[in-house]
C-alpha cells in the first residue's frame, strides 16, 4: 500500500515538474475545452485550430518583439464540475496570460466565475447563452455571437423569404438548441400577435438518438410552410433524411450548428440539396485574407477544414489575445481586459473584424441564409 502511494506521488511530481519547465521567451495562452466526452470532436478541433493560429503568428515572428505564442490545453470533458477544476488549474498557472474558454454555456458559467475572481481574461468561443454577458463581468468576452442575434435574423428574414405563414420550430433540448429556439419564438412573438405568422409546432427531440420518425410524423400533420431546427448537424442530417422519407417537403432551415460538410455527407446529396441554414459567414466564405491563410494552413496539416463554426472562433480568440498582448505591451490581466474592451475595434480576424461591446459581446456578428446547392456546396443565398 505504502509503495503504491509513493509510486503515485513520484509520478505526480514528475508530471508537475514537466509542466513547470516553460521557456521564458513565450507568451502562454490557455485553452479550456472538451478534449474527452461527448463533445470531444469540438474540443479537439478547437485545439487544432488554436495550434494553427499560434503557428501562423509564430511564423511571422511572434509577438512582443519575437516571443512565441504557446498553447496550454486543459480538458474540461464538456461537464460543469470538470470545467471549474480546469479553470482552477489554469488560474494557478501564473504564466498563462489569458484563456480561451470554452465550448458549452453551462460549462463556461462556473469556469468564468473562477476566471473573474482570479482576474484572468477569458474568451468564450462556443458559448452563446445571452445571460453570460449580462453579469457585469470585467474579464469575460466572447468571439461568437449570441442566441438572440440569430433568432432575430430568422424572424426578420426567413418568413418573408419563403412567404411562410405556418412555422415549425424544433430544438434538441441542449442549452444551445433550446436557447436559440426560445429566442426565435420570442423574436417571432410580435408577428404572431399581428396574425402574420403562427407557430404550429414547437417541441424537442432527444439528441444522441437516431430515430425521429415519430416526432416528424407529428410535425408533418401540422403542415408547416417552413421548418426551423436549432440543434446540431448530427441530428439535423437524420431529421432531414427521415423527414423526406415520410413526405415532409417544406423547406428545412437549420440553425448555425445544423449544416456543414458532415451534414451533407450523412444526409446524402439528394436530401441535403435545398436545405437552408442561418449562419455566420462560413469558414470557406469568409472573404478576409486571414481566413484564407488560416484555412489553407489547417487543410495542409489536417487534410480538411473544421466541420463546425466554433473552432474558428477559438482561433480568433487566440488571435485577438495575441493582438492585445502585442499592442498593449502588457501581460497584466486587468490592463489586458481594459484594452480588449476599449481599444480592440475592427481588429482583423479570421471571422472578420473583431471588437467587443462594453459587456464583452462580440460586436456585429453578421448572419446569412445559406443553402446547400446541387453539388453539395454550402453557398450564400441572396
Amino acid at each position: 500500500m505504502k509503495k503504491d502511494v509513493l509510486a503515485i506521488c513520484a509520478l505526480f511530481l514528475v508530471i508537475m515538474a514537466g509542466t513547470a519547465i516553460a521557456a521564458k521567451d513565450t507568451v502562454v495562452i490557455g485553452l479550456q475545452g472538451p478534449i474527452t466526452g461527448a463533445w470531444a470532436y469540438e474540443g479537439q478541433m478547437a485545439k487544432q485550430s488554436c495550434e494553427i493560429a499560434a503557428d501562423l503568428i509564430n511564423k511571422k515572428g511572434g509577438i512582443l518583439g519575437g516571443k512565441k505564442v504557446v498553447l496550454k490545453v486543459v480538458d474540461d470533458a464538456g461537464e460543469p464540475k470538470s470545467g471549474a477544476l480546469a479553470a482552477q488549474k489554469l488560474v494557478t498557472q501564473k504564466d498563462v496570460v489569458a484563456v480561451i474558454s470554452t465550448y458549452g454555456s453551462s460549462v463556461c458559467e462556473p469556469a468564468s466565475n473562477i476566471y473573474e475572481k482570479f482576474k484572468k481574461v477569458n474568451i468564450g468561443y462556443g458559448v452563446t447563452a445571452v445571460r453570460l454577458t449580462q453579469r457585469n463581468f470585467k474579464y469575460f468576452f466572447r468571439t461568437c455571437g449570441r442566441d438572440d442575434s440569430q433568432g432575430k435574423f430568422f424572424a426578420e428574414y426567413v418568413p418573408k423569404k419563403f412567404n411562410a405563414k405556418r412555422i415549425a420550430i424544433m430544438h434538441d433540448n441542449t442549452a444551445f438548441g433550446k436557447g436559440l429556439a426560445e429566442d426565435t419564438k420570442a423574436a417571432l412573438a410580435a408577428m404572431v400577435k399581428a396574425g402574420k405568422v403562427s407557430i404550429v409546432y414547437y417541441d424537442a427531440i432527444t439528441p444522441g438518438e437516431k430515430d425521429f420518425k415519430v416526432p416528424l410524423t407529428t410535425l408533418r400533420e401540422t403542415k408547416p410552410d417552413v421548418w426551423y431546427f436549432t440543434g446540431y448537424y448530427a441530428e439535423a442530417a437524420l431529421l432531414v433524411t427521415q423527414a423526406r422519407d415520410i413526405g415532409i417537403t417544406c423547406p428545412f432551415v437549420g440553425g448555425n450548428a445544423a449544416i456543414n460538410d458532415e451534414f451533407v455527407k450523412i444526409a446524402g446529396l439528394k436530401v441535403a440539396t435545398g436545405c437552408y441554414m442561418t449562419n455566420e459567414p462560413l469558414p470557406g466564405d469568409l472573404p478576409y485574407p486571414m481566413a484564407k491563410e488560416f484555412l489553407a494552413a489547417y487543410k495542409a496539416k489536417f487534410g480538411n477544414i473544421p466541420s463546425s463554426p466554433w473552432p474558428i472562433y477559438a482561433a480568433d480568440a487566440l488571435n485577438v489575445i495575441a493582438y492585445a498582448v502585442d499592442k498593449s505591451g502588457t501581460t497584466d490581466s486587468t490592463k489586458l481586459a481594459a484594452f480588449l474592451r476599449d481599444q480592440v475595434n475592427g481588429v482583423p480576424g479570421i471571422t472578420g473584424p473583431i471588437g467587443f461591446t462594453k459587456d464583452g459581446d462580440r460586436e456585429g456578428v453578421p448572419f446569412y441564409l445559406y443553402k446547400v446547392d446541387d453539388s453539395g456546396k454550402i453557398v450564400v443565398t441572396k
Partner: protein
C-alpha cells in the same frame, strides 16, 4: 390510421434494435447474474468495424461479391470480431472478478465500458462517422398507403430471423437446455455435468455478436454513428430486458419490442421531449405490479 400504422412500424424497428441488444444483456445476466455494462459498447464497436469494412473494402468487395455481398461481409466481420472481443473482455475483465462476487463485477463492467468507449474514440476519432450512403438500398414500398423503406423491411425480417434462431437454439436444443439450466441454477447445473465454461463462452460470443450485427444495422439505417451512442442504446436495451424479465430470453425480445412501441406512443401522443420519462414511468408501474418483469418467473431473490 395510416399515420398510426407508420408510427407503429417505426416503433417496431427501434424496438427490434433494442430487443437484439437486450438479448446480450439478458443472456449474460441469466448465466452469470452480471449486468454487463460494456455490452452497449460492444454494439458501438461492431458498428464502427462494419463502417470500416464498408468504407475501405467497398471497392474490392463490390467487384467480387456485389452489393449484398458487401453488406453480408460487413455484418459477418463485425459479428465475428466482436464475438472475439466479447470473449477477451470476459476472460480479462470479468472472469478474475466475478469469482469474488457479482458486485465487484459491476464496477469491472463499468470500467470495461469506459475503456472500450474511449478506445473507439482514440481509434476512429471523436467525430461522427457516416456510413457510405451509396452502398445502402434506398427504395420505398407503399403498402395500403403506408410508406415503408426497403431497409426497414430488411431490418425487421433479419431481426425476427435472428431472434427466431436464438429462440430455437435456447428452447429446443439440448445445448439450449443446458443454457437454461445454468441460468436457473448454476451450481446444480454444474453438478448435473453441464460444462459451465462452455455456456459462458456461448453467451459471451453470441451476445456481443448480436450486438455487433445490431450496430451495423443501426449504422445502415441511420447512416451515422458516434462513439458515445452505446451508452444510450445500452441503457434502453437494459431497460427492455428488465421490462421483459431479466434472464429470460423471450422476455428480452418482447421487452425490446414493447419499449420501442412505447417510445413511439409517448413521442406521438404526449411529447417528444417527455417520451423517455413516459417510458420509465411505465417501466416502474410494470415492476410495481409485476416485480419480476412481464415474462419473468416469480422467484424470491435474496441479494
Amino acid at each position: 390510421m395510416q399515420v398510426i400504422l407508420e408510427q407503429l412500424i417505426n416503433g417496431l424497428t427501434i424496438g427490434s434494435f433494442y430487443a437484439l441488444i437486450a438479448l446480450g444483456y439478458t443472456m449474460v445476466y441469466g448465466v452469470l447474474k452480471l449486468i454487463n455494462f460494456a455490452h452497449g459498447d460492444f454494439f458501438t464497436f461492431g458498428s464502427y468495424l462494419g463502417y470500416t469494412v464498408l468504407v475501405f473494402g467497398a471497392a474490392f468487395l463490390t467487384a467480387h461479391f456485389g452489393l449484398w455481398g458487401v453488406l453480408s461481409v460487413a455484418l459477418l466481420a463485425a459479428a465475428i470480431s466482436i464475438a472475439i472481443v466479447g470473449v477477451i473482455v470476459e476472460r480479462l475483465a470479468y472472469r478474475p472478478v466475478y469469482k469474488a462476487g457479482r458486485l465487484p463485477a459491476v464496477v469491472s463492467a463499468l470500467g470495461a465500458s469506459i475503456f472500450i468507449q474511449n478506445a473507439i474514440m482514440v481509434i476512429w476519432g471523436p467525430r461522427f462517422q457516416a456510413y457510405p450512403s451509396e452502398l445502402i438500398p434506398n427504395a420505398h414500398l407503399e403498402i395500403y398507403g403506408i410508406n415503408i423503406s426497403l431497409l426497414q423491411v430488411i431490418i425487421l425480417v433479419m431481426s425476427f430471423l435472428l431472434m427466431g434462431v436464438l429462440y430455437f437454439i435456447v428452447q429446443k436444443t439440448t445445448f439450449g437446455a443446458a443454457v437454461r439450466a445454468t441460468a436457473h441454477d448454476r451450481k446444480t447445473a454444474a453438478l448435473m455435468g453441464i460444462n459451465i465454461n462452455k455456456v459462458i463462452f456461448f453467451v459471451f460470443t453470441l451476445g456481443p455478436a448480436l450486438g455487433a450485427i445490431t450496430g451495423v444495422m443501426v449504422g445502415m439505417y441511420y447512416r451515422q454513428i458516434s462513439f458515445t451512442m452505446g451508452w444510450n442504446y445500452g441503457l434502453k436495451a437494459f431497460t427492455a430486458s428488465v421490462l421483459g424479465g431479466i434472464g429470460n430470453i423471450p422476455g428480452a425480445m418482447v421487452g425490446g419490442l414493447i419499449l420501442g412501441v412505447l417510445e413511439m406512443l409517448g413521442a406521438a401522443y404526449i411529447s417528444a421531449a417527455w417520451k423517455d420519462v413516459f417510458v420509465f414511468i411505465i417501466l416502474i408501474l410494470v415492476l410495481i405490479f409485476r416485480p419480476t418483469g412481464l415474462l419473468g418467473e416469480k422467484t424470491a431473490e435474496k441479494v
